[in-house]
């Protein structure tokens, strides 16, 4: 068997195992949240009778282990269950929210990843000169500002003062692709500003590291142009660390955007999860937790696999 394939298979198996462990953790975690789902659903308007009625109906009196295996069994056949609070089918609701989140994440990724890598390459090319310093200073400044602040600034300028883009990122099924793109422009821009610096700095550092190597010197002595050296000789050898940080940031774009969703009132997964945590809607919290974990693990797997495939030493071990 090809050793690279074997490595990849190992990674996949490990990922699945990790996911199983995470499912147990998620389940245990949701059991120790303070408060009670029936109380949270009824809020201040709960009476002892209505509480008892609701608890009975929600099956909260079953032992935890039984509920864990019921839940796990359901997930294996693609059934995420129904929300305790609204009685809605979770798979359906999550599907809608997840596609919204993925849409926003993809728009942000499509803008930020090429931009970050390009800026990283430019920074290396003009190392320690003004373009490098300008790029580093501005991206580091934008990552240093909290994302809600960036979001509010963009709203004030582009939505309230100039009126170019909507302050509410509302998307629904009836909208055309370009209308959706316009709606999510400001949150995507916010996310871009938040993740740009990390990827750009990593690209710069990884390539600079490679630039110390003997073969770069050889390329220079051959008389190649400096940008060509960076793009053709240094970048391919720096891909592994870059892809790792890119995947980490993509995972963040999917699972860490709740603040941006709240500011732009975007109907994504984060907002959906927070609503259900505050209502102790355990099945939904568990489903969202598992999906987030799967995305996180999945993206890291991709990073691992790409690192393996781009590294000749791992591809052809002695």
């Amino acid at each position: 068997m090809n050793p690279a394939l074997k490595l990849i298979a190992q990674r996949l198996a490990l990922g699945a195992l990790l996911l199983l462990a995470v499912s147990a953790l998620i389940f245990a975690g949701t059991q120790i949240l303070p408060g009670d789902v029936a109380q949270s659903i009824l809020g201040q308007s709960a009476t002892p009778e209505s509480l008892a009625n609701l608890r009975e109906e929600l099956g909260l009196n079953e032992p935890a282990l039984t509920r864990y295996f019921d839940w796990l069994g359901g997930i294996l056949v693609g059934d995420l269950g129904t929300a305790l609070t609204s009685g809605a089918d979770i798979s359906e609701a999550v599907g809608k929210r997840l596609s919204a989140t993925l849409f926003l994440a993809s728009v942000a990724a499509v803008i930020s990843i090429p931009l970050a890598i390009l800026l990283g390459l430019v920074a290396v090319r003009y190392k320690d000169r003004w373009p490098d310093k300008l790029i580093s200073a501005s991206t580091l400044a934008s990552i240093s500002l909290p994302e809600f602040f960036i979001g509010y600034l963009l709203i004030v300028f582009f939505a309230v003062n100039l009126g170019w883009f909507p302050s509410l990122a509302r998307i629904n099924d009836g909208m055309s692709f370009f209308a959706k793109l316009e709606a999510v422009f400001l949150p995507a821009l916010t996310l871009t500003l938040v993740v740009l610096a990390h990827m750009m700095r990593m690209t710069r550092a990884a390539i600079l590291n490679v630039m110390q190597s003997a073969y770069i010197e050889t390329a220079e002595l051959k008389g190649l142009g400096s940008f060509k050296i960076i793009a053709r000789h240094a970048f391919p050898n720096a891909i592994a660390p870059i892809i790792n940080v890119v995947m980490l940031n993509m995972a963040y774009l999917v699972v860490g955007v709740v603040v941006v969703e709240v500011i732009f009132n975007y109907p994504g997964m984060g907002q959906y999860l927070v609503d259900h945590v505050s209502k102790r809607d355990v099945p939904v919290v568990q489903a969202c937790g598992l999906i987030f974990a799967a995305i996180y693990i999945g993206l890291n797997l991709v990073a691992d696999v790409v690192s393996i495939l781009t590294n000749p030493r791992l591809r052809h071990p002695k």
């Binding site: 408060g35 809020g43 009476t47 509010y152």
Partner: protein, 527 residues
């Protein structure tokens, strides 16, 4: 007032002068911005309602966990939805009285124990089915039933039996209650076909709007119900509700013109929002109040002197000024204010460190007192707790503040811990407010207030049909709660809503914010 100003207001209302220009000209004539704004809105009102168009509402208080079952409505969005697609027997009006909706008249036996509601003829549900007294009966049965999870279950507990006779729906009470019709205005008690027993979360009602699209906690779209029985109610052709829970996002949506109205403008930005040329802020007195609650049966709060010490140790004016930014009024340690019918003012308790110190000594209590608070117990609760800590310190009383997480506050702290911050929304009548939280047997007796004399007065007042006697009884109850109770009520909060000048028709109301949640249907798009 000059004729020129009136002329200008008419011009502006007719759209021949924009609002900014009008405000500028009015300012030049020496009229304050507030007065000019009022003149403009009354001139717009005089033009009459305009039918058609789309009204978009940004609303706080909605979640993706919300069900469409009216029985389970707990927040502003759910209540507004109920009122758009459904209707109750009666509706609270701006004078604190009741407007007839599904009921065309109601009457009681002389002892206020048997109530008869005559159901309006010719009302149909959105599915074309006629609305009958049987549907009303089924609705009330569902909410009052033993396995009910309805938010209105507590209200309906005094009912002995109910029946439908022809067009009449009849309620027999176990004991007299002169306020029973008010209970029927509760937004949970939306009339559904067969009471919603078959499909509780199906939004088929008899309301002025038909629900077209709905995504819980995100967006709901309504269209005018062409068959609605009352041609006066409902102006816009389409109403779109957008749930925007973030304060800043809601205000920005209003400023950038994405919504026409928004509720719960934060007090600290209300005056800034009002300065925007295209927006009007409506700060309306309400019966809602922000409170500190002590369990009157738990040490050390079981000591009347200690309770009085804390009541004298709070600076109410300072709270109204610094927590509400002036958008409210001082409380008097009762849950009742002038928003209620039959309200009788009593002597105002004021901040008095000496009296507080005296009562604190009398109580014999040593050491500090633990106050629990959280951000969501009311807006600014941690700040208010600190103000309380400082004003109490001047009287020699040490308050320790513990900040609890928002999460789980209502299940773990409120109604569990002996001293914490909380809030109450108002109720339509004094009886409902007192029965909900101050009667010894009340489920939410969050001050653990057990007073026989108070209970007797409360029950007696329900059967008292002489308004003057009743007024006196409520005044006596207020005195008892203020003297003996565990409630420290420093302030009544205003509802702060804002509307853009693309809509008109704002008017006074009682009940909840956004004109008792009816602003979307009562206001109209300016031509």
């Amino acid at each position: 007032m000059s004729d020129e100003l009136k002329y200008l207001a008419r011009m502006a209302a007719a759209g021949r002068l924009n609002r900014r220009a009008f405000m500028g000209r009015a300012g030049a004539l020496g009229v304050s911005a507030g007065l000019a704004g009022t003149m403009l809105s009354s001139a717009v009102y005089a033009q009459g309602a305009v039918k058609g168009g789309t009204i978009r509402v940004g609303i706080q208080g909605g979640s993706s966990t919300d069900s469409l079952d009216p029985a389970l409505a707990t927040n502003a969005t759910a209540a507004m939805l109920n009122k758009l697609w459904g209707e109750c027997l009666v509706e609270l009006n701006a004078d604190g009285g009741l407007d007839l909706r599904v009921a065309e008249e109601y009457s009681s036996s002389p002892n206020a124990q048997t109530w008869t509601f005559r159901i309006r003829d010719g009302i149909t549900f959105h599915n074309g089915q006629p609305l009958t007294a049987e549907d009303v009966l089924a609705t009330m049965e569902r909410h009052a039933g033993e396995d009910s999870q309805s938010g209105a279950l507590g209200l309906l507990q005094g009912i002995d039996s109910m029946r439908a006779e022809g067009r009449d729906f009849i309620i027999e009470l176990g004991s007299p209650n002169a306020d029973l019709p008010y209970l029927m205005s509760d937004y949970h008690l939306t009339i559904q076909p067969n009471g919603g027993k078959d499909d509780p979360a199906n939004p088929i009602g008899s309301g002025p709007y038909v629900l077209k699209e709905h995504e819980a906690g995100v967006r709901t779209v309504f269209e005018k119900n062409a068959d609605f029985w009352d041609a006066d109610l409902g102006n816009a052709e389409t109403i779109e509700l957008l749930v925007i829970n973030d304060d800043t996002a809601r205000v920005a949506a209003l400023q950038s013109g994405q919504v026409h109205m928004a509720n719960r403008v934060p007090p600290r930005v209300a005056s800034l929002v009002g300065r925007a040329p295209n927006l009007t802020v409506h700060s309306e007195p309400s019966a809602g109040h922000y409170v500190f609650i002590m369990h009157a049966n738990t040490a050390p709060f079981d000591n009347k002197d200690l309770r009085l010490a804390l009541k004298y140790a709070i600076n109410r004016e300072e709270m109204v000024e610094k927590i509400l930014f002036g958008n409210g009024s001082v409380g008097n340690d009762t849950p009742i204010n002038a928003a209620y019918p039959l309200f009788e003012a009593m002597e105002q308790r004021t901040y008095d460190p000496e009296k507080a110190a005296f009562h604190f000594r009398e109580s014999g209590h040593e050491g500090s007192i633990l106050l629990r608070t959280s951000d969501n117990s009311f807006p600014g609760a941690p700040d208010a707790s600190q103000l309380f800590q400082q004003s109490a310190a001047a009287a020699g009383i040490t308050l320790d503040i513990r900040r609890e997480p928002n999460d789980g506050y209502w299940s773990e702290v409120w109604n569990n811990q002996p001293f914490c911050t909380s809030y109450w929304g108002g109720r339509p009548t004094q009886d409902m407010m007192y029965s909900t939280a101050y009667l010894s047997t009340a489920d939410w007796n969050d001050t653990r207030f057990f007073n026989e004399q108070f209970d007797q007065l409360l029950v007696a007042a329900r059967g008292e049909l002489n308004q003057d006697t009743r007024r006196q009884m409520y005044a006596d109850m207020g005195t008892i709660v203020s003297e003996e109770g565990g409630l420290i009520c420093p302030m009544f909060n205003n509802y702060i809503d804002a509307t853009s000048d693309e809509v008109a028709g704002w008017g006074p109301s009682k009940g909840f914010d956004l004109m008792n949640y009816m602003a979307p249907m009562k206001m109209w798009v300016v031509g």
